[in-house]
Each structure stands twice: as C-alpha cells, then as structure tokens.
Symmetry: C2
Subunit: 343 residues, 2 copies
C-alpha cells in the first residue's frame, strides 16, 4: 500500500504510442475500447507500454464538455436482493463512461432516509443528473430532492408524467410470450398473472389478449388466474391449471414457473410433454437451470439503464406526450414448450 | 426538471430544530439515523420541517476529517449477474456513509479494460482507498493501478499476502453445515463438493472433516464427490449419492442442492424423508423457495463489504501474519433436514 500523497506521473497517450511503436490513434482505440480492429500483437504492446509507463487513460477528462459535471447519479432501491438493479447499473455505467461520465451509485434498499441522503450526496457533488430506478416496474412518487436535478426514471414512472421515464414494454413482452405458445399450436393457454396491481400485471395481460386476438382466439377470462407472484403462487395453482384442461401456461414470472414445475412433477406429470410453460423475467439462476430449461421473455434491465443515461444526456429524446419510453423484452426460447399432445 | 444553476439554500440544522420545536440534537439523531429513541411525533415534525425548509443533511461534510478525501472506491466484478456483489456494495455503502464517505462503485463484469478504467477513475477522484471485490472467493493478481492506492480485498486475497483481505470463513461454514446434519443424527453424510479448485472447495472440505472428527466419525473419501458447482452437477450426482446409502448430503452450494432435489424427485424419493440436504450460500431466490425450503449456510456478503470498509479506514485491524480476516457464515435452518429413517 502506498501513501495518498504520491503524485501521478504525467504520461501522455503519445508516450504510450512511442513506447509501443504504434500510432496515437491505435492507443486511443485500445484505451477507449472502441471496438476497432487492432491486431493482437499491437494491442498487447500498447497494454504493456501502458503498464510500464503507468499511463492513466482518463477517459473522463478527454470526453467531458468543459466545465460540466463529471458525475451522473443512480439511485437504486434493491441492489442487494436481486440481480436486476445490478443489470441496470451495468447498462447505465457502460453508457455513462462512453460519454465521459462517472456514475455515482447509491443503494437505498427502499429506506427513505437512505434515499434522501443519497440524493443529497449527489446534489452536493453537482451531478449532471440523476437516474432513479426501482427493481420492479411501478409508479413512484418523486422524492423531494429530485426536484433540484435533471431526473430520468428507470423501470418506474411518475404518476403525473412530468418526468421522463424508461420502462419495459410489458404488453409487447406478454404478447411475445403468448405468441411462443401459439406458434407451437397451443390454443388453450392459461395465464398465471400476479395478483399485485402493477404495470406488469396490466401490460402482460394486455399482451396475452392481443396475441390471442391476432391468432383468432377468443379471450376466456376463466383461463386467467391471479396468484402470488412467486414459487408458492405457481405451486398452489397447479390443480386449477390442470382442471382447465390448458395445454400451456404463461407464467407472470420465472419464479411462478418454478413453483408450477414443482407442482406438475408432484402430480406425476412432465413439462413440456404434459404442459408447456413460458415464464417472464429471464432470471438466469432459475430460468436457465430448471429441468427442462425455461423458455421465457427477458426483462431488459441492462438496456433500461443504458437508455436511461441516453435520455438524461439528451441523446435519446422520448416523443412528447407519448408517456414513458418503452424498451423491448426479448424472447428467450429454451426447452419448456412443445406441441400439445392433442394436436 | 429544474436547471443545474439553482443555488442550494443555506438551511441549517438549527433552522430545522426551531421549525420543528425540538432540540438540535433531536434533529441530528433523526437526520443521521442513529437509532436513538425519538418519539414518532417529534420524528414526524422534524421530517416535515426538513421537507418544508429544503434542508440537506450533508452527513459527509459533517463527519469528514477535514481536508481528507470524501470518496472510497469499490470495484466489483459481477454486479449484473448475481446478487452477491449487490450485498457487498450494500454493506460497504452503509459503513462508508456512517463515517462520512461516499462510495464510488464501478462494475467491471470481469473485463480488464473496464477494471483499469475504473481504478483510474477512482485514483483521479483521489479516493481514500479502494475495495477490490470478486463475486466468488478466490486468489487474485492485483491490477497494477491498485499499487497507487490503499487497498483492501473483499471476498478475495492476493497470492503474496501483501494486501489486507476480508473473506468468508469457508472452513467454519463447512463445519456448521455438516454439524446441522450430525445434530439430527446423520452418520453417513455425502459431500458434493465443487470440482473447481478454490478456497471454497478446500475450506468447506476441511470444515466437513473437522465436524465429522468432532463427532467421532472417521472421514470416508468415498463419500466425497466432486461435481460441477451448479444445478446440473447436483442432478448428475443423484445415483452416486443413493448408491452410497448416505442419509444426508452437504452440497457445495444451493444450486447443487437445487439440482439434487430435481434428481431425487425424478426417482420417486423425497427431501428430507429419504434424504436430508444442506446447501451453502443462502442464495435467497433458490434456498427459500425450493420445496422443502433449503437449510443452508449464508455467505456473509453484506458483512464482507462492511468489514472491508472498516479495515480500509483502520477501524478494524487484522492481526499481523494471520492472513485474511475471516468472517462467519451463519447457519440458516429451514426444512430440508430431518432425522434419518434408520435411526
């Protein structure tokens, strides 16, 4: 460990280029990770020169609008309990760095005092703006402190619509999940929705209905069951699903699907031969590792973070009056869907 | 959204106290969330006054050693893919804030260029020091940039032992997991360990052996099987476990236990009646929601982050020459262990 007082050496990108025997622009490409094709050998020489000379890229200083703030803030409510906030942070950080900003991340775990402190801290550091994010998609009342900063809401929106917001396109996601089942020939598709009022509940139901409609199928409210949105809710709904003679189930999320799997197995049946299942979220540790692996639709947390920064910096401008900017939820086909045995 | 140029109002804690009709020290307790008992009514009045006057606590400025840095850095390698990094960040942030520091968090997702940029950025901001953390416990080669800062390793350690480190006590965790099974009367306990060489592999095996030894049982290497440390590894090992006539299994992690559950069920058997199971990690979305819920041992990520900050700030001083500071892994009993049917 060295002492704090050490003075950084004033090594320039030119010094690195000279030592590595490459052009300054090659160094710049390597340093800024631009994706330009630089030979393995040249890249290695640049890295070695950077290390030997102790060069510090300082992407921030280079890219910054002069005199502007170097910081963006990101307030996240549940970084410790799900990987979702982490993905938002990852996307926001990648985009922020690309434009010369450092992301100040504050975790509140839903605590209002921590939230107020975090926002104060960010304001004191004169952030260029603040991303305010929630781990599940919902309406929020804006904390008072945010009135003093440019703000973009990520995975949430303000009830009065006064603040720009970036959210997942729940309806398109619900449509695509249902469509994955329809495409295999299913006609009797149950929907285990959440019982918690939320944009996810309304949007995914809307998408389910639109997909049925596009396939020429009537909407049957008896096929929709509201459950607790976790493994217990899926497990408890198995008998109802079987009584409906549904050949497939669209689950509100991957956790519900995990519980449904357990219930199906306890009754001596199999996914997908006896019942096809599609989830929502693409929570990796569950979806990719159930037996069979779960076909699902991904919540685009990385992209939400990235787009949030782009809106904050004015690089993406949501159309006026159209509400939050809706980001696609990509389909992730795995092995939990097959053709219905009746067909 | 307001413009950046707004001047913050110079409201003091005294103003808040006056408006709320309480003492300055009461305001201080509320603002700093000290845990002191303040009546509901007074707390509410303080909050209202803070909001009406637009007071900003600025805990940082108050607590700071004058002239020192306001920042601590935390480099995390996998914030987007597991909740583990989030828990480290949560613990580190709570402790940092308590001492007047803001945590600069950078996520690298294992990318070396991102890591170098993150460390550069932190050095430019003259952080007081840097926590360097990994999502699983392992040895690391220190990135060159860290030589310029006070560093504490969190959930990892340097091969030469030159840098202070805070890690989970794998051996004590393995001991306690095995002890949970022994306490119910199990004598033939299989151990599905990871096949990946790591401190977790060595430590948990050591703990398993110590627990057997303390119970007067011989170590039988035939009961230890090395598997891929995920659901697939647990699933593939079921027949081996059953052939051993083990009545209980200690799984290297909760993911292995999840796969083992699936395999046990596929053979028409039940956890815990036919086989008791204990995991490791306490990865909530799995452990708390398997059927039956999984008894396990928690990796103390929050505490690792918290202790890392304490070591960085000199509040905890690891004894010289004793290696990394080892943090307890608490037992989390749920419902996957019962007495063996033979006993």
């Amino acid at each position: 460990m060295k002492n704090e007082g050490d003075t950084p050496r004033a090594v320039t990108m030119r010094d690195v280029a000279q030592a590595a025997g490459v052009s300054v622009s090659t160094v710049s490409h390597v340093v800024n990770n631009t994706g330009a094709r630089i030979g393995r050998d040249a890249r290695e020489r640049v890295r070695r020169a950077i290390e030997e000379l102790g060069y510090r890229p300082n992407a921030m200083a280079k890219n910054l609008v002069k005199g502007g703030s170097r910081f963006l803030g990101l307030v996240a409510d549940a970084i410790a309990s799900t990987p979702f906030a982490g993905q938002i942070i990852h996307g926001a950080q990648d985009e922020a760095w690309q434009h010369g900003y450092v992301l100040l991340v504050a975790n509140t775990e839903g605590n209002e005092e921590a939230e107020a402190s975090a926002i104060s801290m960010m304001l004191e550091h004169k952030v260029r703006g603040i991303l305010y994010s929630t781990w599940y998609h919902r309406a929020v009342d804006l904390p008072a402190g945010l009135a003093e900063a440019d703000t973009v809401l990520v995975n949430c929106y303000s009830t009065n619509g006064a603040v720009p917001a970036v959210v997942p396109d729940e309806s398109a996601g619900g449509h695509d999940a249902t469509r994955m089942l329809l495409a295999e020939g299913h006609r009797r598709i149950a929907f285990l929705n959440t019982r918690t009022p939320s944009p996810a509940r309304d949007g995914r139901l809307d998408g389910y209905r639109r997909a049925l409609d596009a396939a020429g199928l009537p909407f049957d409210p008896d096929l929709v069951v509201d459950v607790q949105p976790d493994q217990g809710g899926g497990y408890a709904a198995v008998d109802q699903v079987l009584a409906m003679r549904a050949t497939a189930v669209f689950c509100h999320n991957d956790r519900v699907a995990m519980g449904l799997y357990d219930g199906v197995r306890d009754r001596g049946l199999r996914v997908p031969d006896d019942l096809s299942v599609v989830g929502f979220d693409n929570q990796e540790v569950i979806a990719a590792h159930l037996r069979p692996a779960l076909s699902t639709v991904a919540l685009p947390h990385y992209e939400l973070g990235r787009r949030g920064v782009r809106v904050l910096l004015g690089l993406d401008v949501p159309e006026a009056g159209t509400g939050p900017l809706a980001v696609d939820c990509p389909s992730v086909p795995r092995h939990s869907i097959t053709r219905p045995s009746e067909s």
